[in-house]
Symmetry: C2
Subunit: 305 residues, 2 copies
């Protein structure tokens, strides 16, 4: 075969690849990658994916099932459903990326997952507004404070809040609910305070009718997330916080399918008899009060936040 004699050793290395040689061969084809970070990520990805295939001795049938699973995961995605983020969530990848990106001292408020239900088109509400959109449920009074590590108030912080109703549905999932509800953007006052009235959220299953539901079913895992209120807090000079608060009496705190629960984010959702609420609003039914202080970490110099 005089064909190969005219080739360089590097080029000849691209033929007759075996399970021992193919990984380095694939990486060598990417030697002209312009962006050094892209090259670093792809080399590591190829090494780990190949090691996975070798470690388990993946068969052709198993490979075909994997291709089918990934294809259906992509095709399940729409403008209101992101099945690949859900897959990342249930494999713990989302919280792993978060924990690497947001290492903050334990005395500051910790991050949790953003989730798929944040919306840009939410109302900007004044303090103490009712954001329930008139939806039925147990009244919830939320009293929040944003401070720095010394306990001094952080004024004019932007605080996004969003949560589900008592059946575990977000506004986009409630039929007939066209307008945003159970979500709003607030600004803290001079004392670092923000507050609102809404309805109490409940625990709920993540969507189980797609490939991620199949995966959790096959592995005997629960779809149920503990109840929570999402918050996203941004303030000049501080690191952004994406977080959520869980009720301490929730049954699903230790089986959260997206691995987002932190002790410091478990709080008391205190329930009171009907009467005057914390800001003297009258209620004719029992209500819940949720109070929490959020502690922000300064943004390092030269960091985009």
């Amino acid at each position: 075969m005089n064909v190969i004699d005219t080739q360089s050793p590097r080029e000849r290395a691209m033929r007759d690849l075996t399970s021992d040689t193919i990984t380095d061969a694939v990486i060598s084809t990417m030697r002209d990658t312009e962006d050094a970070r892209v090259a670093e990520i792809l080399e590591s990805l190829v090494r780990h994916l190949h090691a996975f295939v070798r470690d388990v001795g993946l068969t052709e049938e198993e490979w075909a099932r994997g291709v089918d699973f990934l294809t259906r995961t992509g095709q399940m995605c729409t403008s209101t459903r992101q099945e690949f983020i859900l897959l990342s969530d249930v494999l713990g990848i989302t919280m792993l990326v978060d924990s690497l990106s947001n290492r903050r001292p334990t005395e500051t408020t910790q991050n949790s997952v953003l989730g798929p239900f944040f919306r840009e088109d939410r109302p900007h509400h004044a303090d103490a507004a009712d954001i329930s959109g008139g939806l039925p449920g147990t009244p919830l009074f939320f009293e929040g404070r944003v401070v720095n590590r010394a306990g001094a108030p952080v004024a004019d912080a932007a605080v996004d809040v969003w949560h589900s109703d008592g059946d575990g549905h977000y506004d986009v999932e409630v039929s007939g609910q066209a307008d945003p509800a159970m979500r709003a953007l607030f600004r803290t006052d001079e004392t670092g305070h923000f507050g609102f009235r809404s309805i109490r959220p409940s625990s709920y299953p993540i969507p189980g009718d797609g490939p991620v539901g199949e995966l959790l079913g096959a592995t005997g895992r629960s779809l149920m997330r503990p109840a929570h209120v999402h918050l996203l807090i941004e303030a000049e000079g501080f690191q952004r916080v994406t977080t959520m608060l869980f009720p301490s009496d929730d049954s699903y705190l230790d089986t959260d399918p997206v691995f987002g629960v932190k002790e410091s984010l478990i709080t008391s959702y205190d329930t009171y008899e009907a009467g005057a609420g914390p800001c003297r609003e009258l209620t004719d039914e029992p209500y819940t009060v949720l109070r929490h202080t959020f502690v922000l970490e300064p943004r390092p110099a030269d960091s985009p936040g």
Copy 2:
């Protein structure tokens, strides 16, 4: 917090997960997986994906780009386009799985990738049929023989053949070509022989208008595959062979983006002046003759093939 005091250590281990603890936590949630093989595959997959994220310190922005890439890859798939298989091909995963599944002695015919263009609805042709479908191109005469390792003919082997035209297009890509062309299923005769007439295929780019094209562009890789004729051979008592034959004078043998080239699959596509073809067919233009002997490996007892 008396909540945690009532929990078992295993359950408590599901809170406050860090980059050091989340991998084992995710794997522990799958302890009730019924199918032991599914459990083995998922544990290895989670360990390798997490190690990748940790090794490169994947940022939230990079994670979001990855999610977007995978989503678009799934959404590019149709009944005639499988972008996830193409992604597996260009990352060397398809050939890695093949090399693990099909370890055969070097003196037998080696496997290569199946590719996305095999079709079940192909004609069953008698020996020496013209399968070009009347499409224009350099005439190709193919003379094949199927034997066992002792050189004895394998009669009645099913031989599938499919290939592109001189512009690198398969029948499904040729506009106005509704019927199958450049593909057929043959049976070897008593001497192990099969043969047909068609047109000579050319090198061609894999589809570059999707996420895989972006990936190859970003890494400076070529889209061009060397020309080839695909073959899939099945015979009673032998291992199935999925393979292809490349012309020895092709410019892209050492840069195949799907890593499918093997020395033993590079063969001479001999070209002759116009005149009488190998089976005395008259041609009024130059033509190519491709001759190859395929050596099958016996199927092990109790193996499905």
